[in-house]
């Protein structure tokens, strides 16, 4: 048996107004080289200016990942030549990263697992290159965008775990508002390290690194492909193919290909960036940042299951989007049955949002209104079927549920006498059907249907059935 050992290095762009070390805007642009400052193209004489927002957000993420934060934050230079790196060095953190020795809890197939974080550090993104046959174009929009790199310990043991970790991490980025973490815009990218251990927990293949994988699904495919390759090499005795190296994952062939071996590895000649004085981090700042971190997905799921009796499945759906989760929690605070609220949100509201590509905070129905709506159902004032109709009307017409119910004339008839009068009259008219009923034929529903017809569906169904039953038994 082989044990798969995976370590991840996840790069994620930080959401800030300006770039990490310049005053250029940090925003997605369709137009190349629009958001560019002198610093971003490395003109002679420029100096980096550390973005306060970027390192405070980085500290926030470090704290959310349960990392130790340093007393001072420092930056280092990583030196190498490449056209996407205009200064000839990248400003990153080697000596004093924003966080070390943290962990993230994940849940894989119902089992909890702790993923250890070696460190999390703040650096700058490179320019993007577009290659066209004989020439390449450089877009500096991305150059200097703050980039947070989260480095795990080699403690991930399957592609599924890796995928769950990435999704959990993305959730934390979104919950803490540190990043939009959109893989479709290349905001989140991943380097994957894979090797194998035997049953005695000894490494039996050298570490292989796969760089710059741009989607979570590709991470999974790359791991599966590389694990397969390493096992095949081992079993075929093809050990010369097993060296410490960097490989490229090809999306088309789903295979990995050699890029460079460890022997060709670049010496990045790290040294402390002299233009950014060390930035002191005091307890007050850490306290303030900590207070801004909301309860995260993992804890929320636990809470929903334990305190509200929801299923893991429903809890996971609710916490997927923080706004939805916050909305749900708001309804609970206002006093509503948690399961009713969860059901309404996960079935009716989320369906509507997905269909119309809307966000929950943009619809007219506030948590307070939803509570009113659910309470009307629970009180039997309207049916659950009607509540759905009311919801659509609310969000489309931007009206409160009570108003909609009134306008549609939906208020149920819950008055015993009104229903009983109709029932008595009906039963009087059709003694034959009462006889049939006694003989075992189902004529009961006929009477229910007639009452509904006469009340235009407003009669409370439960009450109606009870009354018919009582009146039949009297005869």
């Amino acid at each position: 048996m082989y044990k798969v050992v995976i370590g991840l290095e996840v790069h994620c762009e930080v959401k800030t107004n300006s770039k990490n070390f310049s005053y250029a805007k940090n925003t997605y642009s369709e137009y190349p080289n629009e958001n560019v400052d002198t610093v971003d193209i490395g003109l002679p004489g420029v100096l980096p200016i550390a973005n306060k927002g970027a390192f405070e957000k980085s500290l926030k993420m470090a704290l959310a990942l349960n990392c130790k934060t340093p007393d001072i934050v420092m930056f280092d230079r990583k030196n190498y030549y490449y056209p996407d790196l205009p200064k000839g060095y990248q400003i990153t953190q080697e000596t004093k990263p924003v966080g070390v020795n943290g962990y993230v809890m994940i849940n894989v197939g119902g089992e909890d697992k702790k993923i250890y974080i070696n460190n999390i550090h703040l650096e700058e993104d490179t320019a993007s290159l577009d290659h066209f046959g004989t020439y390449s174009l450089i877009d500096y929009n991305r150059a200097g965008v703050p980039l947070l790199e989260t480095v795990t310990e080699p403690c991930i043991n399957s592609a599924e775990e890796a995928l769950t970790f990435l999704e959990t991490l993305k959730g934390i980025f979104l919950y803490t508002d540190v990043s939009e973490a959109r893989t479709d815009r290349g905001q989140m990218r991943c380097d994957v390290n894979v090797n194998l251990k035997n049953e005695a927990d000894e490494y039996i293949t050298p570490k292989v690194e796969m760089k710059n994988i741009n989607s979570f699904n590709n991470v999974k495919l790359a791991i599966e492909s590389e694990v397969k390759r390493q096992i095949e090499c081992l079993e075929n005795g093809n050990t010369s193919e097993l060296i410490q190296e960097t490989r490229r994952f090809d999306e088309q062939t789903l295979k990995t290909y050699r890029m460079r071996s460890k022997a060709d590895a670049v010496d990045y000649k790290y040294y402390i960036e002299p233009n950014i004085p060390p930035i002191k981090i005091d307890d007050e700042l850490i306290k303030n940042i900590k207070s801004e971190i909301p309860m995260l997905q993992f804890e929320r799921i636990e809470k929903y299951m334990k305190d509200y009796g929801l299923s893991r499945y429903d809890s996971e759906i609710l916490v997927k989007d923080k706004k939805v989760s916050d909305y749900f929690e708001e309804t609970i605070k206002l006093g509503v049955n948690a399961k009713s609220s969860s059901n309404f949100i996960t079935t009716i509201i989320l369906g509507y949002l997905n269909k119309n590509e809307l966000s929950i905070d943009t619809i007219y129905l506030t948590p307070k209104m939803l509570v009113e709506l659910i309470n009307m159902v629970d009180a039997g004032e309207i049916s659950s079927k009607q509540s759905k109709e009311v919801f659509f009307k609310c969000v489309e017409d931007k009206k409160e549920p009570k108003t909609v119910v009134k306008e549609l004339g939906l208020t149920q008839i819950t008055d015993d006498k009104t229903i009983r009068d109709i029932a008595v009259k009906l039963l009087d008219e059709r003694p034959d059907l009462i006889e049939d009923h006694r003989k075992g034929k189902n004529t009961f529903d006929y009477f229910v249907g007639q009452i509904m017809k006469q009340t235009r569906g407003k009669a409370n169904p439960t009450l109606t059935r009870d009354i018919i039953n009582e009146e039949m038994n009297k005869r």
Partner: protein, 481 residues
Amino acid sequence: MKTILDLRKDLDEKKVTSDELFNEAIDKAHKYQDKFNSFVTIIDEKEEEKSDSLLSGIPYALKDNFSTKGILSTSSSNILKDYVPVYSATAYKKLKEAGAVLVGKAVLDELAMGGTGTTGNTGIVRNPWKEERQIGGSSAGSAAAVALGIVPFSIGSDTGDSIRKPAAFGGVVGFKPTYGRISRYGLFAFASSLDHVGCFTRCVRDAAIVTDILKGQDERDMTSLPDENIKYADVIDKDIKGKKLFYIKEIVDKEFYKDAGKETLEILDKFKETISKCKSIGFEVEEVSIDEKLLKAIYPAYMTISCAEATSNNSNLTGIPFGPRGEGNSINEIMFDARTKGFSELIKRRFILGSYILQRENQERLFKNAQRLRRVIVDKMNELYKTYDAMILPASGGIAPKFDDEIDRMSDRYLILENHMAIGNFGGFPSITIPNGFVNNMPIGINITGRVFEDGLTLNIANKIEEALGYKGLIKEEYDV
């Protein structure tokens, strides 16, 4: 030769207009250019000046490693020979806002690396006092332009002694304030932790006036210092009675220079005379002893740190985003070609050294040890500054060398005497060189290095010594051109 204040008075009294001053300056600049080669670019049209500062209408020269929007900025290197920046350095902007009038961009040793004024891509800079001698560097053209009387002040940069050494060789004042006092934004980086912006002037007062305009915090330079809200020009006349100076025995005691040449010995004698004068005007001056091993480490530590930082700082010069594009079949070949053609041999040597120093396997032994030495030296200085207000030493061990001088002065002892001014860069101390008379008809200088942040006091001390010595506004009567 007129100082900034003299010219200010003339302008205010309408004895002269700023246009006349500018035209006079560019006429002189052109006249002396062939022989002395101070400039890469001489401005042909005067910039509009609007300000009521002391510098309004005063012409000046700027070292060509400052970024000047729309004006060629070459750093005297082929790799930037056609580079016209799109932005302006903070120092240049401030001078422009103060109404100072740019006359030209001055030649330097290529990329500010070097101390001879001979390595710029447009040729050597000659010493105005004797054309077969160097003016020194790297701020060679800036020093020469003031020494020649083309401009009353100029701007340079100082990483080891690049302002203070050529100032001594040219018989002018050269001042670099505390690290961070003047923004480095737009100064082409050589070694960021050692680089300073500073000025050449004809007297200490002018250095204070120019620094008053240049200083201040800059949102574009995180290492720049907050404003102190004092004007140095207002504090340089304060009484210095009881202020304490020291000099280092191991650097100036003649007993260590038994084999030294006549000029060096004369420089040491002149220094002793100056010390006596300092005492006579009220300074307390004491001799202190510093471990010779530490002093000998200054130069290697300086070279190690500066080469390492220079390698990294100049990695942006690839000919890709700007600069002459190299040829080749791959991106690596293209960058390689641009850098091979763009830098002189001396620069390449420094980059290779710097790269070697920063390599993972060497960094601890070379780079980190050099940084530790730097720290020990700075700690030692700061300890002395608890007792003393400033250090005073000869700015050089000899007069300006001839272009064909054999390098026969590479003894350890001479290396200390010649390179101690890097201490000012190690600690970011304010440091000023002022003229100290002549040896063999060539000007020599003394250097005063003060406590960090105390630029005012350092200028105050220098001003008082300058008054006592009387070597102010030195200029050779006539230059043969």
